[in-house]
Symmetry: D2
């Protein structure tokens, strides 16, 4: 145990958190810019832990699948990393992006090199890399998720993908600007369609915690022993998650939660306690920064109750 801390009583801690978040569930807002996501009922909450020793704990709606959305950017980055290694960083940065409204502004100043792989611009470059590296990159991505989560039923939600594609003008603008700077190899339309499909992957908290566990275990899947990435690469992904994983609230999130994490507008968040466990939480109501309101609070309470902040 880090710092000689006592082993936490995870079932009790999850139960406490579950009680505490109830009043918050109605306070967030579902993402409205993707029409299909706007239909998801607010009053849901699930949480799951996957410890590297194999123990799993969960509570609430932890078995209900939801749209992983930007959480998939974490896995797309890992998959691209397996092929490109550090060459990856020639096409995408690893610095926080400052304010959200900057997306196109910064991209223009920095000549088509997105600031990091977790803003939309960066995720499009990652998607482009995958499209160049795999015969069918969408299937490759899906297989990667199925392998990491050990569940072959994980799939795209084509209704969500089509819904997002219809309102993807901002992403098309970003894609064409990157293309104009020469940092996309495939057609913009191909990349955006692939990106929307990737975002639509539906998973539940238990699956996401399991899929994330290799990042808590130095790059190796704990239950299979398969090495996905080297120790150093896994550490690097965790660092990028901490500084860039939660949109423009990365500083606030690091400050409140103190764990590397990646969030999505579907209301999911995954986080990593290096050397110990991965945690996934889901509640569809978002706060003003686009992160799950109850989910963020749940993770904050988790690090407090377990003393597992990395700081």
């Amino acid at each position: 145990m880090p710092g000689g801390l006592a082993a936490p009583d995870y079932p009790a801690i999850l139960e406490t958190i579950f009680q505490e978040v109830q009043p918050l569930l109605s306070k967030g807002k579902v993402a409205s810019y993707i029409p299909e996501l706007a239909k998801v009922p607010l009053e849901q909450f699930g949480m799951a832990l996957y410890c590297i020793d194999g123990r799993t704990f969960s509570i609430g709606d932890a078995r209900r699948r939801f749209s992983a959305q930007s959480v998939t950017k974490l896995f797309a980055l890992a998959l691209a990393y397996t092929r490109e290694d550090d060459d990856l960083w020639q096409r995408v940065g690893k610095e926080p992006s400052g304010t959200a409204f900057n997306s196109l502004v910064q991209l223009e100043y920095e000549k088509g090199i997105p600031r990091n792989p977790f803003i939309n611009a960066g995720a499009l470059v990652i998607t482009d890399i995958l499209a160049s590296r795999f015969v069918d990159s969408e299937i490759a991505m899906l297989q990667f998720m199925r392998q990491l989560a050990a569940d072959a039923s994980i799939d795209f939600d084509m209704t969500v993908a089509m819904s997002e594609l219809k309102t993807a003008n901002r992403n098309f603008a970003i894609g064409h600007l990157i293309k104009d700077f020469g940092n996309l190899r495939n057609p913009v339309k191909t990349v955006i369609e692939s990106y929307c499909r990737q975002c639509s992957i539906a998973m539940n908290c238990i699956e996401l915690a399991r899929a994330t566990s290799f990042l808590a275990h130095y790059g190796t899947v704990p239950w299979s022993g398969v090495q996905i990435l080297g120790r150093s690469c896994a550490k690097r992904i965790n660092a990028v998650m901490l500084t860039c994983g939660t949109y423009d609230a990365a500083g606030e999130f690091a400050y409140r939660v103190g764990l590397p994490a990646k969030s999505g507008v579907g209301g999911g968040i995954v986080a990593v306690v290096p050397g110990e466990l991965a945690v996934a939480v889901w509640s569809p109501g978002l706060d003003s920064t686009g992160n799950s309101l109850a989910g963020t609070y749940a993770l904050e309470r988790f690090t407090t109750l377990t003393s597992r902040s990395i700081f």
Copy 2:
């Protein structure tokens, strides 16, 4: 030991690092915009550890004092925090600032609320808070440093302070812009003079490691038991250091070093291994991001050789 890691052989590790950095010492560039700092010879390197159990290790020029510069922003923040608690965050943000050239741009868009306390704009607001809170805030700041480092001979270097003041037009521009938005209470000139004096404080690596150790010990000075800040506040400062402590290279630094750290253009860097130790390193040659070239490398090697990255 975290994760059951073996106790590192710190003297051997410092010796290894010392040998490895030698070829790098001539490759950085001293800060040129403060004339007085431009005179410092490149070929110097010092490093010191202060473990919370009281052990101290050092090597090279660890007893030579240098201009702490922006490293003092860490202590100014801590001192302001002792007086304002979380009210502090109403006047300064805690998010990374995106690109360096944005300083005035972001400040204008965000109406005079600096993005974080470690960019110059934020440090001026912190200095303003201290000026409002203490009868003589510069003396208060100096006493705070002397108390934390346990050395009454620590002092301002007025030659450096005057040298910086003469070329402080950018800081004056920032200060007047913040004032225009109503986020400075004291005269701009007072704040800038006080800020330049604070930056000029001269300390060595051993003193800086000792002074930083309370942040590795949950807010309490390990050798005196004096609580400077609560556990939660100390954790928060570490989080801000990780996301914002090394100018526009915070992401790269988190990725390479994996520790909360604060750097200065004098070539010093302090970093924290929570629950274990504080480390200070110094070498005046800077890389293109304004951080000590050999110092950053030394810390990267330190976390690798000791497996002490927080990720």
Copy 3:
């Protein structure tokens, strides 16, 4: 004659200018971002005047057609104005745009309302208006040009249009961003294709001077008496030309030439002496601001030799 000035000897003045520009013809650079335009030989120069009393004067390559490119934005604006009247200004501004690199930046801050109809963003909105107002807006635009120039052989150059479409990523980025803000009614692809075709219209100096003459004659075609726009609308278009017609060099152009003008990257420029004449000039070599190098000089000499600056 304005201010009681003597009637200029236009043939002699054109001859003088023609001699003076010869050394400049090799000094500009042809537009390189549209591959088809990059093939046009540099050493060409034509100039034509169309006086509202019907007299026409020309010199050099005044009968050689070239790609009108952004000069067509002037006529597209006029055509849209005939249908929308001042409602037009709810969807596009009439202020200069500051620096060129701002295109996407300003568009984002100003929520999809382009600064004026002569930057690309504004021209796309005008094209969108035409696409909504006419059954076949491209044919309508072509007919409008043929009518104004009194020449039924004027046509699109589909090779140029296709060449531009292939490198139109920046315009696609702009179009999708405007669409994202709800200020395009037609599909982005439709608008961009239509825009590229419009830009490809090939005309010569004599045709362009004749086509522009209604703006020197208070909105009425001088040789046919057909009123295209009201006196006030014509005056307004001239004002927008003066402040916004020559990319980011409008101030410099107003200062040197002192006439309302619209330029294109094909090397053409049209200008208006209100109450007297329209002038068109062409030379494919551009200066660093994207305006014809010899063309701008020719117009500067023209206003000096005729004392026809509006200032």
Copy 4:
């Protein structure tokens, strides 16, 4: 007469305008950021014409002095131009500035070269030039105004100057940023104080129309024959006025009024009909762009009723 237009009946036209503006006088807002100006009563309106043949016409409060404010930037530019000639343009641009909020942003991108002499940044550079060129530049400026207006009683209003100086943080920020880029030679404080004094000069409409008349007369004072600037320089200043003279509304102003003009937050505007006359108008209520609401309307009506638009 330009274009063979009939000589207008100026007294009748002024009377018409005077009646028409009455309902508008209560609709503007006095400038509030300079406390002393905020005290001026709204319901005032004056207008004066100075024809180059010596005739003068006026109406309303045309003999009441007001704070010329930014209108003085026009004369400061002319005075600097007499000393620097076109070398002036190496230190300040002549392009419109895009949006107002850009002041510091553009200045930072363009490395301390202000976009034009009529935004505050540019006016500070002009003030700096005057401070370098004259032993006592403020007296030189005052003498220049007295000479142009033929009235030795014109003077600074030190109460207004002090009032502006107290709230000049934005200008100090701009000044220090320019200084940081090396484009100010004198101390920032000296330049700002001088600038505030220059802005405080109090004049009435008759004096301002007379003082502006040399710009309608190709650089030569019509009643004295003294040449202030060459014909080409005068034309150039008129061009800069048209594209940059009315803050971020230059396009709208050119479109509505169609004359080169310079406005000030004191509610004054001067405009030029080249070859004919200068006009000054004053009403303290401003519109949302910072230009006199009734004054702009009066000038719009003037060019309509006299057909004197330059377009």
